[in-house]
């Protein structure tokens, strides 16, 4: 079984997203389809040799804490090093810092293989690339040389320290403080004091050092912390100082999780003694904006991880369904006839179609967004770059949430296809489900993403970005009118319903009531986006020659999505468009 079907990936990258044209842009001209194919080969092979084999072990042998800190299985150190040594950590960076300037689209495709093999173990490298990306973008030359280079070589890893025990969704309420302490070669220096909760990769023995990026507040002249997110700045705080001595960062404990156990999850205390030394990145008060610039890509990364776990569950379920004989064709009276493989039962095919439409659709969505990242940086005109950036912002909550919800649903179905066996630890599907269950929670819960989509991305600008996205959708609807009339009409109806809902909400005065049903709206909008993606894929596949089974499979997945999923949109939107205030009026005591 392959981790990721290459014909499907190539179809998405080249036939659908026009990857070859992207590779001719000046920024990417050093690459071509052939060199990219080799890189994806290397990704597939590394994923198979260094990430997949320790999938179960990294779950079974959960991280433990000893007098040195957190201990993880040794395979993780090897995997982190192999990933970096093959050049994957540096690949998306500019040549000036040792990178290859690989398009985000291609790096995302390569990352998919590692995610498909073992997301929790791959997470160390993903976090490190994100961390290094932030420092490379906003840090000083000295900071880059000191903290980015060893990370891209696979010797150090990185973290993102946002959350605190009392501040998860509400980052404005963090209380970690940073006291200025002059300046040195690495910038303005601070002493940090505070506790950071939930820090992925916060401590471990799989690399030589850990670079934490920490959100904290610098006290004002009155010595008090500034309320709200305006007061937040961001700091580089290494576990070990550049000279190798210990910084004042302590592992206070490990969280014992349902899944995702390959990644350590830590409560870190900064400044138990005289304060953890850190250097500010960017300006005072810019902590959240800086972090959020990296967030689009981080959130797409979460969506990709969720997608690939769902995709692997789907592949496993497919394999199982092909080989598990159980029952006879409905209506067969001859009880002595041979049992048939369960893939021949209509209901099992229903489940597998759901998995296919969820996971392949999610993969397409993620790659679509990954390409928008490239477009926003390298499109020919400023207008095209701005449009891509705006649409990317709109789709980011969907790219994070939709796979987190529906690739997870595919993992649930994969267990169901396995019957009783799926519920045991002898098979991988239960672990995939547990691992994937994290994704609707971190990097902004589904509820927070709904607020972001409806409040910040749509209502705040009066639906202007939504209109830009609608232009893209309209083009697909127009192209599909002849060959897919039913789908084209259904997608048009969904877009109309979204527009009508936005219009209705715009006249609600109370902000709390306006956004009360934002999660429902996100569900409806997410399905609409996926309807757009599937119709566009169906159109594209009709234009090329991809082999009969391949095309029939994609068309069937599109049909499934329109027939079984799109009708849900109206049900989700019903209470939103009616401005149903049940949830705001509901009282605690009534429960």
């Amino acid at each position: 079984m392959t981790i990721l079907d290459r014909p499907t990936l190539d179809f998405l990258l080249y036939d659908w997203l026009g990857g070859e044209a992207l590779l001719t842009r000046p920024a990417f001209a050093e690459h071509n389809r052939e060199s990219v194919a080799s890189m994806l080969d290397t990704a597939a092979r590394l994923a198979e040799t260094h990430f997949l084999p320790c999938f179960k072990k990294s779950d079974r042998e959960e991280p433990s804490q000893n007098e040195h800190g957190a201990h993880v299985i040794p395979e993780i150190r090897t995997a982190i090093a192999a990933y970096a040594q093959a050049g994957f950590a540096a690949a998306p960076f500019p040549a000036a810092i040792g990178g290859l300037g690989l398009p985000n689209l291609i790096h995302t495709a390569a990352t998919a293989f590692f995610m498909g093999a073992n997301v929790p173990v791959a997470s160390y490298s993903m976090l490190t690339v994100g961390n290094a990306g932030l420092i490379a973008h906003f840090g000083t030359q000295a900071q880059i040389e000191t903290f980015v280079t060893p990370a891209l070589e696979g010797r150090w890893t990185g973290t993102m320290c946002l959350s605190e025990p009392q501040a998860g969704s509400s980052l404005a309420d963090i209380v970690t403080k940073a006291i200025p302490e002059g300046e040195d070669g690495l910038g303005v220096r601070y002493r940090l004091f505070g506790n950071k909760m939930w820090i992925s990769g916060g401590d471990h023995d799989a690399a030589d050092n850990i670079v934490h990026l920490v959100l904290a507040k610098i006290p004002g002249p009155d010595g008090k912390l500034i309320a709200g997110s305006k007061g937040i700045s961001i700091f580089i705080v290494p576990k070990l100082m550049p000279d190798g001595s210990r910084n004042d960062v302590t592992l206070a404990g490990l969280n014992h999780k349902m899944g995702f156990r390959g990644t350590t999850n830590c409560l870190l205390n900064f400044g138990e003694r005289d304060g953890a030394i850190g250097w500010r990145v960017g300006e005072i008060g810019q902590g959240l904006p800086i972090m959020f610039q990296m967030m689009n890509e981080a959130r797409i990364g979460v969506g990709l991880g969720a997608t690939m776990m769902g995709y692997r569950g789907f592949q496993l379920a497919l394999d199982y369904a092909r080989t598990r004989p159980q029952g006879r064709r409905t209506g067969t009276r001859d009880v002595s006839s041979k049992q048939i493989p369960i893939i021949e039962h209509a209901d099992v095919k229903r489940m597998l179609l759901a998995c296919k439409s969820y996971t392949e659709g999610a993969l397409a969505l993620i790659l679509y967004c990954a390409k928008l990242v490239d477009e926003s940086k390298t499109a020919d005109t400023a207008q095209a770059r701005a449009e891509a950036d705006a649409v990317l912002g709109l789709l980011t909550p969907v790219a994070k949430t939709w796979p987190s919800e529906y690739a997870l649903a595919a993992n649930d179905i994969a267990i169901q296809v396995h019957g009783g066996y799926g519920y045991t630890r002898d098979f991988d599907v239960e672990q995939l489900y547990r691992d994937n269950r994290l994704n609707p929670i971190h990097e902004g819960t589904t509820g927070i993403q709904g607020l972001d989509l409806l409040g910040r991305k749509i209502l705040r600008d009066g639906g202007k970005i939504l209109a830009q996205f609608a232009t893209r959708v309209a083009a697909t609807i127009k192209a599909a009118k002849d060959d897919f009339p039913a789908e084209a009409n259904a997608l048009q109806a969904a877009m109309d319903a979204i527009a009508a809902t936005v219009h209705a909400l715009a006249s609600v005065n109370d902000e709390a009531e306006m956004l009360a049903n934002a999660t429902n709206f996100l569900s409806a909008f997410g399905h609409t986006v996926l309807g757009f993606i599937w119709l566009d894929l169906a159109l594209c596949i009709s234009q090329g020659d991809h082999g009969a089974h391949f095309a029939a499979g994609k068309h069937a997945a599109c049909r499934y999505f329109y027939s079984f999923e799109m009708p849900k949109i109206a049900a989700w939107l019903a209470p939103v468009i009616a401005c149903d205030n049940l949830t705001t009026r509901m009282q605690d005591e009534w429960f």
């Binding site: 079984m1 392959t2 290459r6 014909p7 050093e30 690459h31 071509n32 052939e34 060199s35 194919a37 080799s38 890189m39 080969d41 290397t42 092979r45 590394l46 040594q85 093959a86 050049g87 994957f88 540096a90 690949a91 290859l100 690989l102 020659d545 991809h546 082999g547 391949f550």
Partner: protein, 249 residues
């Protein structure tokens, strides 16, 4: 010493091979293709010899359609220095390949040809042996260990009964078995460097060889499905079945 390493483009080992509907071959349209895994081992061995200072240059050769360039690029990314593509649309069989390799050996004068023991698509296991015969060179097939010293290649061969060690006077042909080494993957920076390495494209006619097939394919079929087994009550029944039904004893 120059090394010549032939590399073949085959259906990727991960792909479940399907017979074409006309029964005349296997489906390759829309199928992932890769370097024959035994050839990867051959390239790896060559690169190690170069790293040890024993080899000076590695030439990767592939034969077939233009897309075989990709296979050569992979070899270059693993550490080969330059490539030669013998481009042809003709279906290539071992004898034609061996003849073209001989012509290339005459031209390039390598000290050794290292190649895969067989290709995983047709499992012929013939080209290396044919080439050695055409060249009149000694051959060490199914190599699981290779040492070079004083103009002699010492090859440990995997044979049915165990291992056999042969000493070959160079120049020689060595074919790689699975355990010879663990091939490296092409790192991303090396893939980029490989883009700048030269690949020369020639035609079979340039080598004076007519590659037309000598064997005719009658039909290609899937292997017969394994039938479900049966449980026998005792040894006597087993013997009876083997004698009367299977007729093997």
């Amino acid at each position: 010493m120059k090394l010549l390493v032939p590399v073949k483009r085959v259906v990727d080992y991960n792909v479940k091979v399907r017979v074409k509907s006309d029964g005349m071959g296997v489906e390759t349209a829309g199928v992932k293709m890769s370097m024959n895994p035994f050839d990867e081992i051959a390239i790896e061995e060559a690169v190690r010899l170069k790293e040890k200072g024993i080899a000076s240059e590695i030439i990767a050769v592939s034969m077939g359609i233009a897309a075989c360039q990709e296979t050569i690029r992979t070899a270059l990314a693993m550490g080969a220095d330059r490539g030669i593509l013998v481009e042809t649309d003709v279906e290539l069989q071992p004898l034609a390949v061996a003849k073209m390799l001989k012509a290339l050996v005459d031209k390039e004068q390598p000290g050794m040809v290292i190649m895969g023991k067989q290709a995983i698509d047709d499992d012929m296991n013939a080209t290396g042996q044919m080439l050695a015969a055409l060249l009149g060179w000694p051959q060490g097939t199914f190599a699981s260990k290779l040492d070079i010293a004083d103009g002699t290649a010492t090859v440990i061969r995997e044979i049915d009964g165990g291992l056999e060690t042969v000493a070959l006077t160079l120049p020689a042909v060595v074919t790689a078995d699975l355990r010879l080494n663990e091939p490296r993957y092409a790192s991303l920076p090396n893939i980029m460097k490989a883009r700048k390495k030269p690949i020369e494209t020639i035609k079979p006619a340039d080598l004076g060889v007519d590659p037309a097939p000598r064997l005719t394919t009658l039909k290609v079929v899937e292997p017969a499905k394994r039938k479900a087994g049966v449980k026998v009550a005792n040894v006597a029944e087993l013997v009876a079945k083997l004698r009367n039904e299977a007729k093997v004893i």
